[in-house]
Amino acid sequence: MSFPLLTATAVLPAVGAIATAAVPAAKRTVAKWLALLFSLATLALAITVLVRFDPDGDRYQLTESHSWIADFGVRYELGVDGIAVALIALTAVLIPFIVLAGWHDADPLETGSSRWRPTQGFFALILAVEAMVIISFEATDVFLFYIFFEAMLIPMYFLIGGFGDRAHEHGEKAAATQRSYAAVKFLLYNLAGGLIMLAAVIGLYVVAGNFSLTEIAEARASGELNMATSTERWLFLGFFFAFAVKAPLWPLHTWLPNAMQESTAPVAVLITAVVDKVGTFAMLRFCLQLFPEASKWATPVILVLALISIIYGALLAVGQRDIKRLIAYASISHFGFIIMGIFAMTSQGQSGATLYMVNHGISTAALMLVAGFLISRRGSRLIADYGGVQKVAPVLAGTFLIGGLATLSLPGLAPFVSEFLVLVGTFTRYPVIGIIATFGIVLAALYTLVLYQRTMTGPVKPEVSAMPDLRVRELVVVAPLVVLLIFLGVYPKPVTDIVNPAVKQTMSDVQKQDPRPEVEAAK
């Protein structure tokens, strides 16, 4: 038996979580280094997965399969395709930066009670989320996926509700109230989505008799397994609802701004750049593969919802006064692009969407983490409280600008490639929707540049005049992300090479071909 690489990649951060949680209360620094160490080790394993993965090989590679709960037809089945590999790599890359960026976020204010160990808890929860996210990317058994899709809500919930920004305009008590409101809202939305999905998961079992993605897809393709049209549609809706809450898609998005606003910047990155990707990933892997007909049936509605997300998110981002909330609405707009790319049912659209998942993760991480550094210096999240920062802290302002430019998809930075692919892919099949979506880019330019202008340029506000520039630790976090943004913007081939074969497979699952370019026949 070969080494279970995928299991190891998921188990390692889980072990790290337990180890970190077990560190005694006084040894906070040990816990931090331990967490960093485990996240780096996980990154090493993820890179091994990336290297061992052969883009032109089988669809699912590095597979593992063990019997687990035979009574439910559940197997412990792992396997990765190109899309999963890219997202696992993204997750593993981002977590060390999240850990580093959150280095001081969970230091206890007072060292009174010896049994309350927030720091250990914070880093342990981050690693626990990493473990669950990675295994959801790897699972090729619907039930296995579902379990971790749901279970990851619990550590996420504690991260949102338990740790927030130190400074708050209405004092610590109001901050705690709002935090717990945001955490509960996050949990209830996602739990409700997950429970609806549970009904669909059970329904799938009744229809198919097992949960293996590959087996069900094969049985469907060969005609062995026939689903009634209405059954397929109901099951599709059950799955899609959960993923649309997670992704999030308008009108199920309202938990995201609260959650991102109230949590610390690293946790906000964890939510939007890592955890939410499970939602969009699952649309590609489960909705399209298991229910191809229903996916095609639902496409028009989903595209319109995605379009609303793009425009609505961008419009609301323009109007925000709170930096983190602004980034949250920008993310909603971007998730609209990703979902549009997935359901445009063209290979460019889906490659673009997958690439977008990766790029959005990196660009949001860069922007949000720098914003977090900024907020921690001034102790306010309000845009109006800043001004002229670039004169005081040029490096901070510069990286913030790069993050912002990436968010508005400036050519030369990574998100541009993916956004372009999504738009082209959508346009070839749905020209009107493609055209309207382009306005999202215009609005993106508006909200990012206005944000930059108001916070970084202009006269230096007295409150920010003594603001220190980025420290070494913060530079270590931001610099690699900026390098990645530029590198993938100029040369996206490494990612597209891995992703493209998987996208082709998915396209053949839904039996869609790219529309032929139409040439006006000369008469």
Binding site: W116, V184, L188, L195, G203
Partner: protein, 549 residues
């Protein structure tokens, strides 16, 4: 009616006395129950003859040994093949020894053992006059607040009678799901109900509330028993027999006439329908299904918490076992009549329990309504009428009972000057002061909420799967919706514990003896093991899923 038929109503042809055989009793197959009953009687003798200061130790020892021995007997019977390869009907057709009976008896015995640990806990309350005290009244007979009560407290009396009472209740519960005729069913019902009524009245603190709970439970329980008895009489009139198997045959129409004396009433469908409805009603009362749930919150709140935990777990197991047997063995021929009714009951139970729980401010009442919602989920599995339905219900009951006992055991730990601090506002910030206790309680709440990787999820998945396969898809959808509603109030408690500021005058967490620690530890272990690796236990429940007829 012919003359002979009428005549045979009150006379019978005399047979020689010698023809009455001694009843044949299969002592081996009845061993689990007999051990527990025997130990209960020994417990009564201990009360009578052993000096007061040694009684606690003697009673604890006898009870633990009895429960462990009875469990060993169940395991031995199962290892002997009962329930899997063979099944027996013991004691002249009164008691079935089959898979579901043994599985449920094993569950009840383990739950009772864990419950017993919380009964025997004596470190939580501060010592009164130098004597360690448990959760039970010093002298149940003394009027609350009276001089005689004070004297009893001063003298360091403890109600060690709770141990034999517990054992009697367990004995009744062991017979209840195994009863194979209606009279045995009724006797078992009374045998476990009466000790429970008493136990409910024995709280050391808040005695009036405890006595009120007991009276409510007793009055409503007596009504329910009376209904059951009436139903039994009608069913006898219909079938001419008390035996489950015979009634089932009469319902099916395979047997036409059992007793000439009942020729007039036999086969009268009105008797069957009314009788069956009344019996099922009595059982639904015991499981706490809406609309027969009214007693649950008051009794759960008023009873001493260890009793609440034991009752919530073991009564539910026993009553669902009996309900399964009635519906699957006696009334399968009637399923087209009872399924729609049970659908309705399951729906209102799930939704009612979950919705009303939202407004609760007392942790014990909250858990009471949550237990109602869970009864609804289990009913969804009962409705499946398939082998999967049986095994999923068995699994759910086993998973649920350990979560429940563990959760109530944690409730006993959180105390302030007035005893247990059950008002939810007092639990604010518990996670800051006692992270471990709060984390353990959070695990139980997540299991109640059915979050994956806990036993609650595996159980819920099993019953919903069985229900969906049985064609009850709408029930599953309503089930997941009420799960979402229920999740809200479980989460609310977690929010309160972890994200709220602790109150300065808030409760403290008592450090328990190893007894309660064991109970909670077993609860957590079972919750996690059944959540992560349920296969072995699902197999067990699956093998045990065939009733004997």
């Amino acid at each position: 009616m012919s003359a002979t038929a009428v005549h045979s109503l009150w006379t019978t042809a005399a047979d020689p006395i010698s023809k009455i055989d001694a009843p044949k009793i299969e002592y081996g197959q009845l061993a689990p129950t007999l051990i527990v009953v025997g130990a209960a009687i020994v417990g009564v003798l201990i009360e009578a003859f052993v000096p007061r200061r040694s009684r606690y130790y003697a009673q604890t020892f006898v009870s633990v040994v009895a429960l462990v021995a009875a469990f060993a007997a169940v395991v031995a019977l199962a290892a002997d093949g009962y329930g899997t390869t063979k099944a027996g009907i013991a004691a002249m057709g009164a008691i079935a020894v089959d898979g579901p009976a043994l599985f449920l008896q094993g569950t009840i015995l383990l739950a009772a053992l864990v419950g017993l640990f919380t009964f025997a806990e004596r470190r939580l309350d501060p010592a009164a006059h130098g004597n360690r005290v448990d959760s039970f009244a010093a002298q149940a007979a003394s009027v609350p607040g009276s001089e005689s009560e004070q004297k009893a407290v001063k003298a360091g009396f403890t109600t060690t009678e709770v141990f034999p009472l517990l054992l009697f209740a367990v004995a009744g519960m062991l017979i209840f799901p195994a009863a194979n005729d209606l009279l045995t069913l009724f006797v078992a019902l009374e045998v476990f109900s009466l000790p429970l009524y008493l136990l409910c009245a024995l709280a050391r603190r808040k005695r009036l509330m405890s006595q009120e709970a007991a009276v409510k439970y007793f009055l409503l329980g007596a009504f329910a028993s009376a209904f059951t008895l009436f139903g039994i009489a009608l069913l006898y009139g219909y079938a001419g027999s008390m035996s489950y198997g015979t009634i089932a045959q009469v319902v099916d129409g395979t047997v036409q006439n059992v007793t000439p004396a009942l020729a007039d009433t036999m086969g009268n469908d009105a008797l069957l329908l009314v009788g069956a409805a009344l019996i099922v009603m009595g059982l639904l009362f015991k499981v706490g299904a809406v609309p027969f749930h009214m007693w649950t919150p008051d009794v759960y709140q008023g009873a001493p918490t260890p009793v609440t935990g034991f009752m919530a777990a073991a009564t539910k197991v026993a009553a669902f076992g009996a309900l399964l047997r009635i519906l699957y063995v006696v009334l399968p021929g009637l399923r087209w009549d009872w399924r729609p009714v049970m659908w309705g009951v399951a729906i209102v139970t799930m939704l009612g329990g979950a919705i009303v729980a939202i407004t609760q401010t007392d942790i014990k009442r909250l858990l009471a309504y949550s237990s109602i919602a869970h009864a609804g989920f289990i009913l969804a599995g009962v409705i499946a009428t398939s082998p999967d339905g049986i095994s999923s219900v068995l699994f759910y009951l086993a998973a649920y009972s350990f979560v429940t006992i563990g959760a109530f055991a944690v409730v006993t730990l959180v105390r302030d000057a007035g005893g247990e601090a059950t008002h939810l506002s007092k639990w604010a910030g518990l996670g800051r002061r006692s992270p471990l206790v709060a984390a353990v309680f959070a695990v139980f709440l997540l299991a109640f909420a059915g979050i994956p990787l806990t036993s609650g999820f595996a159980g819920k998945f099993a019953v919903f799967k069985a229900a969906a396969e049985g064609g009850a898809a709408p029930l599953v959808v309503i089930g997941v919706i009420s799960s979402a509603v229920a999740a809200f109030f479980y989460i609310r408690v977690i929010v309160l514990m972890f994200f709220s500021e602790p109150r300065p005058e808030g409760p403290t967490v008592a450090v328990p003896s190893p007894l309660t620690m064991t109970a909670i530890g077993i609860g957590v272990a079972v919750t996690v093991v059944l959540g992560v690796a349920p296969q072995y236990f699902l197999d067990l429940a699956g093998q045990a899923g065939v009733f004997v007829r």
